[in-house]
Amino acid sequence: MRGGRVIAVLGCAVAVFEAAACSNGVRADTGDDAFMRIAGAQFFRGPMPEGSSAGPSVAQLSLINNNIWAGLADDPLSGSLSPTATAAAIGLARDVGYWIVPAGVPSVATPGDPSFSATAEFSQGIILGSYTLVVRAVDTQGTFGPPASQILVAESSPTDAPATGDLVVTLTWDTESNLDLHVIDPSGVEIYWDNQSSQPPFSFDQSDGGSYGYVDYDSNANCVIDGLRREDAIWSNPPPSGDYIVRVDAASLCGENMANWNVRVVVDGTAIAQAAGVALDADTIGSHGTGAGVTALRFSIP
């Protein structure tokens, strides 16, 4: 009872101190869960404030390429702001927050306007599709101006060409760990590194018209690092109808602290499902055969 009172008193003390200090600066936040991250910038969680026409404007916004992909790093963006601006707010619409980049000296091209430049990177968990990049100028009073926007298209990495097939389930991850893709087809057959095809081993009729899936590669097997960090389960022909279960098994982190993984399901070239997660050391405990791993997602083929 006394312990409860002590904790209650301490809780009240924390609340009072927090209330007294609520205006004391900005909160520390790495913004690591945001789809877009900007190195060296200050992250603000929550939607970017609506701009005012009285606020400063973005005079110019430059991107090298509007195509992005999961894991893209060192993607530069820059521009210039109206003369009263002191910072640029940069973010993706509907992301978990936005970034503030202080304005810099004017460029040669726009000698009267403050410039801004930033280097963006995109999360491994970014989902394929279109995103709106929003940039607003901010003045010294913290007034946000009208937005300048660009459409970014998230696609597969050009260095990691997508596997082709009627149904492709792809697992990718970001560290040199040994993760494995497990897919259970509607008939209950689980394909993974130790059962690489759903085709029965002694099928005498090779042209039975059935559709069988296979796993194309066992990346970083036994921690022999190959740098691919990707496995695909592929059905080259129309896949069997029914429910599929996709599991991700962390066989070993190979000395890494963790691995962020991403699973994507593409049917006839169109992504129909995606999931992301984190594999930790605790996930490597136990069997790594049939039924191993965590369920990443379920989907159905009509």
């Binding site: 301490l10 003390a13 924390v14 101190f17 927090e18 200090a21 004391n24 600066g25 900005v26 909160r27 520390a28 936040d29 790495t30 690591d32 910038a41 200050q42 603000f44 404030p49 991107l63 090298i64 390429n65 195509n67 992909w69 893209l72 060192d74 993607d75 702001l81 003369p83 601006a85 002191t86 910072a87 640029a88 707010a89 503030i100 980049v101 202080p102 304005a103 810099g104 000296v105 004017p106 403050p114 901010v138 003045d139 010294t140 009073q141 913290g142 946000f144 990495s157 050009p158 260095t159 602290n257």
Partner: protein, 469 residues
């Protein structure tokens, strides 16, 4: 057996001492003795009767005096020869109840967790002191979990000590060599178990990180004057670069000249000025080889021949040294306020150049200009009987008093100061303490929505338990 005999002799001496004190000095007038009631068994004023008694008394006094001097010399000799070993220590454990800086994330560059809300062993010290005659030595080990489990030497020194002899006009004198507290200012030298607030002021954590450094020190004290002078490596135990090492041959010279006086009963003053002059180190760079770098100029994620850029190698650059110094002043005034207890008012100020070794490491070679650091702190504590204490302190530290920043098209001065306003309350019981402190910090580590430097919130509420043994 010798000790028992010695203690017996001391007891005899102590019993004899009051008698000796009540005796007249050997050259005292005989009349004084003769009029003492109870002495000589008679109040008669006849000199013939007093003479023999006075002579025998005088002889007895001389005999006892000689015995006392002999025993005193024997006691001093025994003290010099006896070995004294003492084991002590303390534990400080913290519960950081709330720190605004905490996040469930890791620092990408260090891999350390960013969460600060935790239980931690801030300091666990075990100390052994040994003395034999004029020679003394000490070894203190610190175990803590501030950045994960860590055990390290914190104090290890060998000393020669002479006690003060005011009757001969000689000061006390201590010469020490080893790992020891840096003799600068007041709070750097204040014991962790005595300091009323959780940690030292920010300026001291920046300029004298870890408070201990390797070197040789001479310390003298005479009546109210105290003087310390040391030659040290100049890289304290908590320095961010080369801790406990010394990349330059020249040594830093550090010293303090102070006074400690009791102005009147219950009114105690201690103050001093300190200086530090030395040589800092700017590390050179090794030679680099030619490298090819891919710059994705069209952002398509594919390597194309026109996107390969050759960057030529460069020769090694030599290391350089630079001058650094600090000047400081400190004071503490203690006033006994009955029936509460002592009111202690303290203040300290430092002006330094290129001396920051713990917060924003000063490198004037890299910066292209000298970095001037300015800091001060002041505060007060009030004992509330023997059971409690309250206190507060404000400190401010600027690692670069001449800093400026580019805001859009303007280069403007910027305040890069760190400041802390601390309030604490403490319960005391014997050698134990329970301390609750709230620290309100301001720093230049955040960026506001307008792009200007602002505080990155890191106020903290901490509960500390401490036991000294």
């Amino acid at each position: 057996m010798r000790i028992v005999a010695f203690l017996g002799a001391v007891a005899v001496a102590l019993v004899a001492s009051p008698a000796h004190a009540e005796e007249s000095p050997p050259d005292a007038p005989a009349a004084d003795v003769s009029t003492s009631p109870g002495r000589g068994g008679s109040a008669s004023s006849e000199p013939s009767k007093v003479g023999p008694t006075d002579a025998s008394l005088r002889l007895e006094v001389e005999r006892q005096g000689a015995a006392m001097r002999e025993m005193s010399a024997s006691l001093d000799d025994l003290r010099r020869k006896a070995s004294r070993v003492r084991l002590s220590g303390f534990v400080q454990t913290d519960w950081i109840i709330d720190n605004q800086e905490s996040q469930n994330e890791i620092n990408g560059s260090t891999g350390q967790p960013l969460n600060q809300d935790r239980f931690t062993l801030r300091r666990g010290h075990v100390r052994v002191d040994a003395a034999r005659g004029l020679v003394a030595g000490s070894l203190e080990i610190d175990a803590n979990t501030t950045n994960g489990p860590q055990v390290r030497p914190i104090d290890a020194e060998v000393s020669l000590e002479w006690a003060e002899m005011p009757e001969r006009g000689l000061p006390s004198f201590v010469a020490s060599m080893g790992l020891m507290r840096i003799p600068f200012g007041f709070e750097v030298q204040e014991s962790d178990t005595v300091r009323p607030l959780l940690e030292r002021a920010t300026m001291l954590q920046a300029l004298f990180p870890g408070e201990f450094d390797l070197g040789i020190q001479l310390k003298a004290k005479y009546r109210f004057l105290e003087c310390q002078l040391a030659a040290m490596n100049g890289n304290p135990i908590g320095a961010k670069v080369f801790p406990d090492l010394d990349p330059v041959q020249t040594k830093d010279v550090v010293g303090r000249l102070g006074v400690e006086v009791e102005i009147s009963p219950g009114f105690h003053f201690r103050g001093g000025i300190s200086g530090d002059t030395g040589t800092g180190f700017h590390a050179g760079t090794p030679a680099t080889k030619n490298v090819l770098v891919w710059q994705d100029q069209n952002g398509d994620g594919l390597v194309e021949s026109n996107e390969i850029v050759a960057i030529g190698g460069s020769p090694a650059t030599p290391s350089k040294t630079f001058h650094r110094f600090a000047l400081g002043a400190d004071m503490r005034l203690t006033i006994r306020i009955a029936p509460l207890g002592d009111l202690s008012i303290r203040g300290e100020a430092i002006d330094s150049l290129n001396l920051d070794r713990g917060l924003e490491v000063a490198d004037p070679i890299g910066a292209g200009r000298d970095l001037r650091e300015v800091g001060y702190s002041f505060g007060a504590t009030q004992e509330i009987t023997q059971w409690a204490m309250v206190g507060t302190r404000y400190d401010q530290y600027s690692p670069d008093a001449d800093a400026s920043e580019q805001i859009a098209v303007h280069l403007v001065p910027v305040d890069r100061a760190y400041s802390t306003f601390a309030v604490m309350g403490m319960l005391r019981y014997g050698q134990a303490r329970l301390l609750l402190e709230y620290d309100s910090h301001r720093n230049p580590l955040g960026i506001g929505t307008n792009g200007a430097v602002t505080t990155l919130a890191d106020n903290a509420l901490t509960l500390r338990g401490q036991v000294v043994f």
